[in-house]
Amino acid sequence: MTQAAAKHSPLARLADLRLIKARRPVLDGVALEIFAGELLALVGPNGAGKSSALKCLGGIETAWSGRIELKGRRLTDFPAGERARRIAYLPQFFAPHWELSVADLLDIGRQRGLNALGWSAVRPPVPAAGDTTDKSSGLLQDLELTGLLDRQFASLSGGERARALLAQALIARPSLLLADEPIASLDPAHQLRTMQYLRRCLTDVASLVVLHDLNLALRFADRIAVMAEGRIVVCGTNEDILASGILTEVFGVRFETYPTPWGRALLPGQDDLG
């Protein structure tokens, strides 16, 4: 997939992206390209700026400088509704303020891109609330949500919540999904299953996923971008990343690699600083 994708022009491109928060440079010249249909994992130590980069792309942080392009067009040239339609964001912590059912959540997600007065400023128009004649039943089946539609979101298990949120973000068919540690609070079995769901849903959606678990990144991502101190240090295929030895440098830990049926896996070994 990587070889084929790389031949096309990127879906999204970040160049010299800078963000200053509380007089501290959080992003210090991020450069990154995301290609259609790929799963690009964003890894790096805490405080490297991963979440901030996602928020700039998702239209949540607006005080950035530099350049973000979507399909060759500056992000700032997009009307807010159109940007919202194309780029969906899954936050690290999600807690709706009201007791919404899964169906409510999906219905609100379907209306992604409406303006402040609930009008649609984009073409094709955003379907009206309650419109059930959408083509998203495939998505609901893929995510095994058809039986959960009437359940309250708050009553779902962690794995079910992750799936419901994924559907909420994908139901309006964005071209880029940004996910901030979608599996952070799940047990290993559900982490694995959620990553499999993610993979299954992303046939025509590019995704930039912040992951803490390097092994899941190695197993499921097409490419990995390593971030440290507000910059992308290396971005490449999994083999490139492993061969570069950059992980040891960035995380300050020496990793041992082990062969597994799906490729090489990592275990943090000796503390490199000690």
């Binding site: 949540i60 009201w98 402040a116 007065l117 609930g118």
Partner: protein, 315 residues
Amino acid sequence: MMLGPELLGPGRLLDLLRPAASDHPLDRLLFEWRLPRVLTAFMVGGLLGAAGAIFQGIFRNPLADPFLIGTAPGAALGATLALLVPGLALFQAVSPLLLLPILSFLGAFGATLGVLLLARLARVRDTAGLLLAGVAMAAFLGALRSYLMLALTDETISLQVVLSWTLGGIQTPFWRELGYVALACLLLLAFARRLAHGLDVLGLGDDVARNMGLPVERFVVMATLLASALVALAVTWGGTIGFVGLIVPHLVRWTLGPRHAPLILTSALVGGILLTLLDGLARSLLPPAEIPLGLLTALIGAPFFMLILARRSRQ
């Protein structure tokens, strides 16, 4: 229509509504006084119900109420100014339909925005902090109003009028005024319905709302403007009637769920019905005196508020 110092049975009421009975004194009472008053009570209740639903959506908090967060006290302060400040009172006498609502609106909007800013400056995110900011604002504005009342009333201006605002009581407009109020109500409700999507999205959190294309700050100011207009109109015609904006959206949410489109419209309907009934009771429980409506709603609303708090703390 049946309720009042003189109770009318359904049969008697129908008799009076027939054109043949038109020279009966009770007939005049019905058409000049009771019917406009019933309609006004319905509209004031509807405005408060819808405003409560919007405020709860803006504050993302089921305990937000126009009275607890300072909006209605702000509107009451504006109304007091319109009635008592000599120059303004003169203008009020000339054009009663404009000045009172406008000053109430400015008071309502200023107070709500003040509470929102206060909460933001203090980085308050939880229910208690937000309500405390509202309570502080309400206490301050209430004190300011009391001071104005003491300082500015004399024999020429009746304290009675201002007091009726404080305690809450439906005014009886002329039919022409009623028409304007009804028109304003319909326009405001139509606009309120348009906010439903934004309020739904806002309930998912600021980050998700921004990503979904909602300009959060601008939307909050816009929704606050509109809800303040609803409250100002309600306060102009009904004085400060507490708890309707709290109870009604709550009841509706229990039955219809938290989506704002049905919530806002149904809250308006239920609020209208509730206040019409309560106003009827207020007029007929202690004849010939009228019980201040705000007193009745507080008697019912305050225990309800405690019930909600108890439920929340159990969760």
